[in-house]
């Protein structure tokens, strides 16, 4: 079992020092998790530390490719509202 960082990562470094397994490393275009080292913090923490501090919804996914922080869960912005705002800005 391991987590994965995907392209919406903004390279903010918040997760890197928290990983108990030193599985997270800087890479281009974004940080990555070494799948062989990641334990999802089992045995070290109650919750995966990278997931707990990551500010970007959808940037960390599990093995089923599901976002650990789904849309709206961190910013409080309802996804429909966000989509509507984007449409409105694009139409200007």
């Amino acid at each position: 079992m391991s987590l994965e960082i995907v392209e919406s990562c903004v390279n903010c470094w918040a997760c890197e020092p928290l990983c108990p397994n030193k599985a997270i490393f800087e890479a281009k275009p974004h940080f990555l998790i070494d799948a062989d080292k990641c334990t999802e913090c089992l045995g070290d923490h109650a919750k995966p530390q990278c997931v707990e501090i990551c500010p970007i919804e959808g940037a960390i996914v599990n093995e089923l490719n599901e976002p650990m922080n789904p849309p709206g869960s961190l910013t409080g912005i309802p996804p429909q509202r966000w989509a509507a705002a984007r449409r409105e800005i694009a139409a200007r």
């Binding site: 390279n11 470094w13 918040a14 501090i53 970007i56 912005i77």
Partner: protein, 506 residues
């Protein structure tokens, strides 16, 4: 080494950036501060109104990580056209930040302060932040170090801050009530967990207050920043001001919320409005009774460079700084130039003080003019000024910001500034199609007069239609003198007896 291109030649004591003459009541701003605090802030542009005309600062963007989420912040955003906190173009390693700071301090001898303010929270990145401070303190010991934080990790960092000789810390405190805080902070990362809601706000507030007390106990100066969010914490900030003053913060800076949908922040998307300039000023005035208030803040980016009101960051990008050879001899020369400039500025300030204390016939004349008008004191008038180097020196259409003065019988006081290009300049990427003139007029809402060196026919007509009187008759006069001259003209014309009839600008 190519020094010419970063502009080593600077005039002796240039006063760029903020274009105000004295930025209002400097004496007032510094009144009530101990001699020791005055000494500490006299060359810090963010802490002293007087200093911000002469001294420059830079923010080194070494701290990307954050440990909380604020509803006015979006961690994804970076736009070169944008000027607001938390935004940067280039993240730096501590080594790069030190090199950039040394390059800037060599090119701009007014450089007196290096601040670390983000783009995340400096104390959520303690290794990167303190490595930068440590190395810079060795290579340029004359540069003051300061840090701006949300306060969550502050108590555990106070020891380290004191060790690095950091004598200025800014804490952003938006509330002292967790129920208010829960509307501003969706979560904090605390002891290995994302904590949400009122509990999150409670933890943050507790840490902020504890950190404030610990810093004050160590003699470290604390400025408190607050973001004014209408309907959320606006009334509450009066209480915040009282509390932080009682705990020993020496300056309170209430800033307006910046929230636009295109920023992608919670407040921007959800339609939370920003305060009007008048609402901001009213709150600042209300807090002033309790606290030394700051009015000259420009809400700069986390990688800003230069005097307040200007950003020379583009001159010092990594590709320009990296190839520079900053050897010991070069650094020593740069430091000597800074020292000479500081001494010169100090001497000029002394001379100015001496002059201010000498009898001034002009002031007496002004008083006579005030008192002859039937002893009517005259109501306060807000005037916007397109200023340049302390003079009414800017063409209306060229002004990037207008300084707002409140004129009363007591004199002209700087109460704020209105930017005309705060977010972006209407290019395609930012999608801002609003007419520039209409936007400028909207930004000047509440002002009855706008002073400028020249103005075109169209803006003149539109300003008048909006109830703002353009005035180009005081071109190139010192700002405060011009403001007071116009106020006295209005007083003599009997326009200041009744309350202001300012037209609503939609």
């Amino acid at each position: 080494m190519d020094l010419a291109r970063i502009g080593l030649a600077v005039p002796p004591t240039p006063e760029r950036g903020c274009s105000a003459g004295s930025c209002g009541s400097t004496a007032g701003q510094m009144a009530g501060l101990s001699e020791e605090i005055r000494r500490k802030v006299e060359d810090h542009p963010c802490y002293s109104e007087q200093a911000h005309h002469h001294f420059a600062r830079m923010h080194a963007a070494v701290a990307p990580a954050c440990n909380i989420q604020c509803h006015y912040c979006n961690r994804k955003y970076d736009c070169a056209n944008e000027s607001r906190p938390g935004v940067v173009s280039e993240l730096l390693t501590p080594d790069q930040a030190v090199k950039k700071t040394l390059a800037v301090a060599a090119a701009i001898p007014q450089m007196s302060v290096l601040g670390i303010a983000g783009p995340g929270d400096p104390l959520a990145n303690p290794e990167r932040t303190f490595a930068t401070f440590r190395e810079l303190a060795q290579k340029a010991p004359d540069i003051k170090l300061c840090v701006s934080t949300n306060g969550l990790a502050l108590p555990e960092c106070v020891e380290e801050l004191a060790k690095h000789n950091i004598d200025h810390v800014t804490i952003t405190i938006n509330c002292v009530d967790p129920e208010v805080g829960a509307k501003i902070y969706p979560w904090v990362f605390w002891k290995g967990e994302r904590v949400r809601g009122i509990e999150a706000a409670r933890i943050l507030i507790e840490q902020q207050q504890k950190g404030l007390e610990m810093l004050v106990a160590r003699g470290i100066l604390v400025k408190v920043n607050s973001v004014m969010i209408p309907g959320v914490n606006d009334e509450h900030l009066k209480e915040v001001s009282k509390v932080v003053k009682a705990k020993g913060a020496f300056l309170h800076n209430v800033m307006p919320l910046i929230a636009e949908a295109e920023h992608g922040t919670f407040y921007g998307i959800m339609g939370q409005r920003s305060p009007s300039p008048a609402e901001l000023k009213n709150l600042q005035d209300a807090c002033e009774g309790d606290m030394n208030m700051m009015r000259h803040c420009r809400q700069c980016r986390a990688d800003a460079v230069g005097l307040l009101g200007e950003d020379r960051g583009a001159e010092f990008t990594l590709d320009k700084v990296e190839p520079m050879d900053l050897n010991d001899e070069f650094l020593a020369e740069a430091m000597a130039r800074r020292k000479a400039l500081r001494e010169q500025i100090a001497a000029e300030n002394e001379a100015r003080k001496a002059k201010a204390h000498a009898p001034q016939p002009a002031v007496v004349t002004m008083h006579r003019r005030t008192t002859t008008a039937d002893f009517h004191v005259g109501r306060p008038v807000l005037m916007a000024v397109a200023a340049k180097n302390g003079l009414v020196g800017e063409h209306f259409g060229h002004a990037r910001e207008f300084l707002v003065y409140e004129a009363t019988a007591a004199g002209a006081k700087l109460v704020g500034h209105r930017k005309t290009d705060l977010y972006c300049e209407g290019n395609a990427t930012c999608g801002d199609g609003e007419d520039v003139l209409a936007r400028t007029i909207k930004a000047l809402a509440g002002c009855e007069v706008v002073l400028c060196s020249r103005i075109g026919y169209d803006p003149w007509r539109d300003l008048e239609a909006a109830g703002i009187r353009p005035n180009g008759e005081h071109a190139m006069e010192p700002v405060e003198d011009a403001v007071m001259a116009v106020w006295h003209e209005m007083l003599a014309a009997g326009q200041l007896n009744a309350p202001a009839e300012v037209k609503r600008v939609a």
